[in-house]
């Protein structure tokens, strides 16, 4: 019998944003879909995020951002991951991400961009289909 390794996901709330309802619901949905989920809690600085990634070695990092700080914080997180040679982790951002910001964020290596009203299964499938390792 082949034992399949569980997909390990880090759900993060970067910045000062306290709107964590979506992040928590998503964390639970990913867990219910059989993944190993770590939820960082709120108020994560880019350094906090990167340190947790180094410690936990997740397959995917999902950033939940509703405060409008995504264009400022996401590139910093991506830059710092690169500095640590981490390039095989799926990094996605969702929350309130206006369409017009997507290209900018994509150019920094981010994916996802799921907003309010997204079916949880859509995100579960997205994670499964976009892993880099």
């Amino acid at each position: 019998m082949v034992v399949q390794r569980k997909i390990k996901v880090l759900v993060c709330k970067p910045g000062l944003d306290g709107h964590d309802r979506g992040a928590k619901v998503l964390a639970r949905a990913l867990r219910d879909a059989g993944m190993e989920v770590i939820y960082t809690g709120i108020h994560q600085t880019p350094d906090d995020v990167v340190n947790t990634v180094i410690q936990e070695d997740p397959d995917a990092v999902l950033l939940s951002m509703l405060s409008g700080a995504h264009n400022a914080l996401c590139p910093v997180i991506m830059e710092k991951l690169k500095e640590h040679g981490i390039d095989d982790v799926l990094v996605a951002v969702g929350g309130i991400i206006p369409d017009e910001d997507k290209t900018f964020l994509e150019n920094h290596g981010l994916k996802g961009f799921y907003g309010p009203g997204t079916d949880l299964n859509t995100i579960v499938e997205f994670v499964k289909n976009n892993l880099k390792r």
Binding site: G15, L16, A23, K24, V25, G68, P116, G117, N121
Partner: protein, 544 residues
Amino acid sequence: MTIIDEQKTLKPTKKERKEKFRNLSNIEIKRLYTLEDIKDLNYTMDLGEPGKFPFTRGVYPNMYRGRLWTMRQFAGFGNAKQTNNRYKFLLEHGTTGLSVAFSLHTIYGIEADDERALGEIGKEGVSIDTLKDMETLFDGIDLSKISTSMTINGPASILLALYIVTAEKQGHTPDQLRGTIQNDILKEYIAQKSWIFPPEASMRIIVDTIEYCTKYVPQWYTISISGYHIREAGSTAVQELAFTLADGFAYVESAMERGLDVDEFAPRLSFFFNSHNNFFEEVCKYRAARRIWAKHMKNKYGAKNPESMRLRFHTQTAGVSLTAQEPENNIVRVTLQALASVLGGTQSLHTNSFDEALCLPTEKAVKIALRTQQIIAHESGAADTVDPLAGSYYVEWLTNKMEEEAEEYFQKIENLGGVIPAIKANFFQKEIANASYKYQKEIENKGRTIVGVNDIEVREPCSTPLLKIDEKIAEEQIATLRKIKLERDNDKLRRVLGKLKESAHGTENLMPYILDAVRAYASIGEIINTLKEVFGTYQEDSIY
């Protein structure tokens, strides 16, 4: 056979749309309500005349026939100058009270040039660092004539001090000022997350503001005890009702422990509720809230003054109910939610703008939201009589039911040792996380239909124009702060902050020291950091 017996025996002939009908609190709703369901209802004891105990029918005898609710649109973005312009726009279009949304760095008492403020400045509210910003925010607005609500919690006493000093500079005394600071830290630990200090220190600061305002700012509402955020975080309506009132009782108990007379401070406590999609459930929630508060204040806390028993509240329509899909539909959702709050007897109302699932509201969207209130007020007839839904079998039954379920929660919270121990045990946080997950699953399983979201397959691209915050705002805010720090008397500043720290170590009321610091142009961040040295900070368990 009576009519009631006859109705009970008449079985519906066709299969119903659902096996069970449940509202958003998971209360099962029957096919029909009759006199039977409210046969124990005693008009005088359970409802009372409007303006009389237990205030179920409303806090005033003539309600909106006397004065309409305050149309108070929550607004703040960018810098103080931009928000000042938005206030003037709202005032020109008939808004009757101001409501300040602060930037996240202000909410946490973090200065604009702190690295944690990166990307946050002016995005979710107006960026305020010092008295200078506050003077700009209210420039040309007479603070003795308008009432202002400030959504601020951790640094609430500092923002109140800033408001008092800004008014002083306009030539007004504190006793002329009318408004509200949210100042409700308990719901921050429970749901909204913008705490700074540990709960015990936070409660001391809150009681300080209550004590100070009772003496010097008597027209000010000292706390806006808020269910709004609890609901937005995912609670049911019953949980919103129960947790909010439990918080309210905790504040009453803390102030009484300080030795304050309940009838001196309780009349200046106010409430803030959400208005979500289930119309009757929301109406009943407000009615039940009034009755529960009145009964507890009278019977448990020994209030004698009817003002202490009157639950006055602000309502905001449910942000979380707004959809990013077909956003124009939100105008209709907001209308129904606003109508529910009016039929529930709200004292003031914020109607959300239809584009808020996408961005901070544009001017056009804000205007429609305000017009929605005006149409309800002037065209619908809903404001012509007091508590028009009273006496409905369904409404009275559901009001009773929600009160009963709230009382069960009060018992559970008491068994855990009270609100603060229950927070530390993650009781509220777990209840809310469970409720929000259940709600989301119901939508995904199509147990609940959200029009335009889970009932359609074809998705049109979004074409709503969005409000963008210029990134230059952050640079300007940082420059303003640095300029103030160069220009002010920094020796004096160190002295006043030193005294503040000393008083924080003791038991004195902090307000006079905070006022001195504000007058010396201390930034909110500097005052908060001074207090953090004494009180420390709080960390939550990140459960989901």
